[in-house]
């Protein structure tokens, strides 16, 4: 088949120049790749690549530093907001964000997250909530839904045995140091666009020195959930979104 030549003027979409050529390790259908793309686009469009420092977590996104062409610091499990606090305090002119999963940000790192938010650190935490520990093989997360089966809740999450899932985004809204708290998803093209707008708003909030921002992204983990990508998107809509409703939760303008 002859190659189709695409004229530059007809090109409506391209890879962000900040996305590297490294092959992503994420499973097909996983939300991480989409969120990475959006983060790269926002940094590029704001023209702040030289001033942006990312803090990557322990979890599936541990290798985020392989995919976005900026300086990165790999934090210990849960400690990203503490690391980001110091970087931002010492480099107030820079954009500093963390990229964390639900186990990282809202289980082992709860204290670091809440206190960075309470202090009103001018950083952004990007919070991937897929209700499961993906990298370690699908164990229960703090966000695992009631009844949801995981490697450590093989009969479904039972609140009497495993406790209840919690919404750290709503909790953070009560803190005076938080400026912008939002919950997004990337399971449809429309949601992808909304998520990008939210990321941009969070980054601008941090650069304006207005306080702490959290962008939660309700995400799929089709491998951990043991579903096809399409089924995972459907499951997210039917099960995750009723419990984790989308939209801005707090917005100080």
């Amino acid at each position: 088949m002859a190659e189709v030549e695409i004229k530059p003027e007809n090109r409506v979409y391209g890879k962000s120049p900040l996305i590297t050529d490294n092959v992503m390790h994420y499973c097909p259908g996983c939300s991480h790749g989409t969120v990475h793309k959006l983060v790269a686009e926002v940094i590029d469009e704001m023209g702040i690549a030289e001033r942006t420092i990312g803090i990557s977590p322990v979890g599936c996104a541990v290798f985020a530093y392989n995919y976005i062409d900026i300086d990165w610091i790999e934090a210990a499990h849960g400690r990203a907001c503490a690391v980001a606090t110091a970087v931002k305090r010492l480099h107030p002119e820079n954009m500093v964000f963390t990229y964390q999963g639900d186990g990282d940000l809202s289980a082992i790192g709860t204290a670091e997250t809440i206190h960075a938010a309470a202090r009103g650190e001018n950083i952004v935490a990007i919070y991937i909530n897929n209700a499961i520990y993906g990298m370690t093989g699908g164990q229960m997360a703090p966000t695992t839904l009631i009844g949801m089966k995981t490697a450590t809740t093989p009969y479904g999450r039972d609140p009497r045995l495993n406790g209840y899932p919690y919404k750290i985004a709503e909790m953070l809204t009560h803190l005076d140091g938080t400026a912008y708290i939002t919950r997004q998803s990337v399971h449809t093209p429309a949601n992808v666009r909304k998520c990008k707008r939210a990321l941009r708003k969070a980054f601008e909030t941090a650069m304006a020195g207005k306080g702490f921002s959290l962008v939660e992204v309700v995400s799929t983990c089709n491998s951990g959930w043991k579903m096809s990508p399409v089924a995972a998107n459907r499951w997210l809509e039917e099960n995750m979104l009723p419990f984790y409703p989308l939209g801005d939760i707090k917005c100080n303008d």
Partner: protein
């Protein structure tokens, strides 16, 4: 040239850490209160260096957070320190291991108290193993400095950070509650400027993450490597660095060791006590010397091995159940008797108790 007027003050060991950090141009301090070292952060907050040198001082929500703030600051090439006491250092162990693994420079001050557990707030040297043999997980070493005076608390802030940057390795000042709380005369260094971001970019361009300029590749600070072959190469590189430190950075003080029949080995506050023991013993006609390791890692193995060829015995005097004595025995390697004398729980020996222990454990035999 006119002699510069020296600034001499009477100060606590903990207070002087704060003054030295500002004067030696540190960029940041992150900490969490714990007895017996809380005066470090209290003094910094009182001095408000953010209004003068621009140094950042922040009280974190835990030692876990403060050491990870240190990690973040160090990752950007800044000169950063924290301080704590034994239980707090245990909480920092994970972060210290990451800092060592990511090869970042920083300074950690441990003003030791007695343990295990919550233990006591009184002085101890019970964290020798933790400081010198790891403390956190994985194969790594800290550069460990043991001050025996308020002046050395001051001087080692600079020495510790200089060595940390020279080797891109965390350094620790292993003090104790006695050194931290006692007041002594100290000569303060003149104020030195903090390095500018441009100087840091020039000096730390290869590794620091202050934002990627167009003229270099992105820097990534990490201790992660999942390929075993590559991870082993990292371990081997770290090992080579530790061997270089052992070759070049051993510091110690030998007091009356030249003609000594018996040598006390002691660090920090114990060494202060033992120097009085040496005087008492000499007055009795006993030829006793003192070898004081200033670097606990790298340990002064060679000078001890040299002494072992001709002395009748070593007494390792420590405020613990016997920790450094293991390194003394390794250095002596069977060439002479090695005994330990210690007290615990915040109890401190007097010089004559040390002399009595020396007589009882070694000289009588």
């Amino acid at each position: 040239m006119a002699q510069q007027q020296q600034e001499v003050k009477l100060m606590k060991g903990n207070e002087v850490i704060a003054h030295a950090a500002i004067r030696f141009g540190c960029d940041a301090y992150f900490g969490y209160p714990i007895t017996p070292q809380s005066e470090v952060m209290e003094t910094l907050m009182e001095l408000k260096p953010w209004e003068t040198t621009g140094m950042v001082v922040l009280q974190a929500e835990s030692e876990i957070s403060s050491i990870n703030m240190v990690y973040g600051a160090a990752a950007t090439g800044k000169r950063v320190l924290t301080s704590s006491s034994s239980p707090g250092i245990s909480l920092m162990a994970e972060g210290i291991s990451y800092i060592a693994g990511a090869e970042l420079p920083c300074l950690i001050v441990n003003c030791q108290r007695g343990g295990p557990g919550l233990g006591t707030i009184q002085p101890s040297q019970g964290d020798y193993f933790q400081a010198c043999k790891g403390g956190g997980h994985g194969d790594y070493h800290l550069i460990v400095l043991a001050p025996n005076s308020v002046q050395e608390m001051h001087d080692f802030v600079k020495l510790g950070l200089d060595l940390a940057f020279k080797y891109r390795n965390p350094a620790m000042i292993l003090a104790d509650g006695a050194i931290g709380q006692m007041m002594e005369k100290v000569v303060l260094a003149p104020q030195q400027p903090r390095r500018t971001n441009e100087e840091i970019a020039a000096e730390c361009k290869e590794w620091a993450t202050y934002g990627k300029p167009a003229d270099r590749k992105r820097n990534v600070v990490t201790s992660l490597e999942l390929q075993s072959e590559a991870m082993e190469q990292i371990n081997l590189r770290l090992n080579a660095k530790y061997r270089t430190m052992e070759e070049n950075e051993v510091r110690y003080e030998a007091i009356e060791c030249d003609d000594a029949d018996y040598v006390l080995v002691a660090f920090g506050s114990s060494a202060r006590i033992c120097s009085a023991t040496v005087e008492m013993a000499r007055a009795e006609g006993l030829r006793v010397g003192l070898l004081r390791p200033i670097t606990l890692y790298p340990f002064p193995t060679r000078p001890i091995a040299e002494l072992a060829k001709r002395v009748k015995g070593f007494l390792s005097v420590e405020l613990n159940a016997g920790q450094m004595v293991e390194d003394v025995r390794l250095a002596v390697n069977g060439a002479a008797p090695v005994e330990h004398y210690g007290r615990q729980g915040g109890m401190i020996y007097s010089p004559d108790e040390v002399l009595a222990a020396l007589k009882q454990k070694l000289i009588k035999a």
